[in-house]
Symmetry: none
DNA sequence: GATGAATGAGGATTCATTCAT
DNA sequence: CATGAATGAATCCTCATTCAT
């Protein structure tokens, strides 16, 4: 049975479809499922669709994942990878001001998480947490807590350097988190919530957010002195 | 047969079957629907369940709301957008500083929406928007847009009074919205996302948030502006 | 209780709605039901609608007719009245040719049955016969059989007068019936089967039908002699 | 476990569950649907019933026909409009007289439609057209219009050959249609409308009908035209 | 008698899951 | 291993009928 198969593959230059990527199957299914779960939610994603997008039959999907729930869990686990060690190292070595560091951190997050499919996982978790408490706990431990720790480190460094006023750390972390989560939610509810006039440009939003976070919205005399603020009066 | 019924009614407070309470029904159904929608999501909430929780039969539900979607819309109106006129009036009459006004607005929102089950609606919409575009559009039009308008009014008043520096209004609105949505998401992923140490006390968070929003996190000496804070060496 | 009622009626000149036509109720319900049954069929006619069109509540409908089926039966029975004795007398006295008699009979039928709501009963019976065999039998006996007898009488007279060639009477009766039933069905499926170009003008159709019935479609030399034929070439 | 199954299959002819017979299904479902639609009408036929009669589960029905309406359309195509191309071809090639052609056409229709369950479709449409306008439109376009076109072709050929006198085509078509519809209605109100003495023998009725259609009922002497027959004394 | 609020059985359709091939 | 035909539980909504007022 293997001979004709090989013959097939070499003769045509293309492996027969069914054989082409036998080992890649789970990965392709996970990728297809991620996209669809993010797009439509867990309940609304049909097994049929996932299978089709992965280029296999519905039966095959259940060969690899015993149920839709198991598929969902696998998708989430598969996508919560640790990008944190790399960031931690970068932050350890960072030498600029806290303002720059926050800007850098947020842009970094946006570039490597927020703007990518990975942000879909956050959206997915938010949406389906109550149906998958076990996964939510997992996410909390693997993603949220380490993320908070990184933010805390940046803030603590700012306080130590005298750039940030002493503040309740827990609250400060949430204050930093809020706009990030907001961006994720905006991004993934896009299209359905289309209000052109209020559309968010993430990079600009993050920059403005950092400025505001550091200096506030209040008008002060000194404001006249700083022409580089991005305010576009009304 | 009449005796047990009487007994039943008086002793347990259970209504007899086929009781006619036309005026009370909508409210009871809306309350039941709110609970269930928030608990289980729109799609996963079965009409029978809503009816049962409201103490009526399935048919009765459809007597008052022509479809599940209409029921949802009614829930939204009953719990969120129905409050806007009142807020708008209050804001019109408000006489304090912008800082006070923001605090007041946020607390108001927290008390009457954020802290109640109604906040679940926002979470729900985030989760299911893509599956029910018509509901998403309704929410956008009935909740988001008027909500943004209210925020814009507060900010514009602050600018007019010289308390807020001129700023791009669209972004500013999002900056105000972010922590509110964040609270909602935290609240409704609660229990699953339980990190005791990082737990948020909403009222405090909102207060801190307003302070930060207005004055920033940066350390200043007696409100002197440190010029080099504004340099962007990057 | 009757005193205030009377007072009411006389004082206002209009009887209170509920009182106005207590005895007319069944008739009004039957009339409304006839219209709706003919329009939409038995199954698709909602009790609610019948009641509303009759100006009463749904409950009242069931006060007079114990079920929708009973209402239907009552409608049919109510509308199958004997117009036959009158026709039989007219035919007895008729003195013209058979051709004239057929024309007269068909026009008579069209005017007093086909063009009126009464034809709806025929349509109704046709449509629902299989669901109401008892009614169908009733209709057969009360309407179809006497109708056939009338037609048979006309034809027999024609044969006796030497105007009609001897023919199997049973078949001839059906040959006369067919266009009548056809008209009824066309009339009542009108609007749904709208093909403007093929629209039937009943009076013309009946006239042409009688001509054809008597003289046929075949081309004969004699045709050149008869300029009053209604043929509109192509 | 395999033994009883085999036994079952061979002994009773009952298929094992989950038998895969993709090619046979549509036909079995269409046959079951035709029977049930004719027996009970479109609205009253439940999808489960069709499936059960075809020996499959409800789900399978919807695997082959996306909705009950589509199932109905397929039944119509399978039983009526699907035959038109064949008829059209036959008529194109027909070489006999118009009388023979009409006889042939009517017998053809009777044999393959009128005498079969398919004729129930026409009765059904008459009954339910107003409730399912889309189906009525479909029937009009797919069955009635092409059917009329076929008849028109026969008549036009007769005129062109000088066998039929020129006549308004629209009316002529209806004159041909009437007895066909009449047969259908008689057939399907059968049993309920049983009047033994007046029972119709369709083949004879159609033959007589064609004769009458062509030559009329009038008595003629050696085919001489009696001039006073055409006077209209009224 | 009259009302109309309440009931709940009934039916089309979807889709995760199974299993014969 | 892979397939995809088959299954049937699940759910929204309708509407004839009931019955408390």
């Amino acid at each position: 049975m293997s001979f004709p198969k090989l013959f097939c593959e070499t003769a045509r230059g293309l492996p027969a479809k069914r054989e082409r990527r036998k080992e890649a199957r789970p990965g392709e299914l996970l990728a297809a499922a991620l996209e669809l779960f993010v797009e439509k939610g867990f309940a609304a994603t049909r097994a049929d669709e996932v299978a089709k997008r992965a280029g296999v039959s519905k039966g095959t999907l259940f060969l690899y994942f015993s149920s839709k729930e198991e598929l969902f869990k696998a998708v989430v686990r598969d996508n919560i990878s640790g990008r944190y060690p790399g960031w931690a190292a970068e932050f350890e070595a960072f030498e600029g001001s806290t303002a720059d560091m926050l800007r850098y951190a947020m842009n970094s997050w946006w570039t490597s998480v927020g703007a990518t499919k990975a942000s879909g996982i956050s959206k997915l978790i938010m949406s389906e947490a109550s149906n998958f408490p076990e996964l939510a706990a997992f996410y909390q431990k693997e993603v949220i807590e380490p993320g908070h720790a990184l933010i805390r480190r940046i803030l603590q460094r700012g306080i130590d350097r005298g750039e940030i006023r002493p503040i309740d750390m827990t609250q400060a972390v949430h204050i930093i988190m809020a706009p990030l989560l907001y961006l994720v939610m905006c991004k993934h509810c896009y299209g359905t919530f289309a209000d052109e006039s209020a559309r968010l440009v993430p990079e600009e939003f993050l920059a403005t957010q950092v400025d505001t976070l550091l200096d506030g919205l209040s008008l002060r005399q000194a404001d006249n002195v700083t022409p580089d603020r991005k305010a576009k009066p009304q």
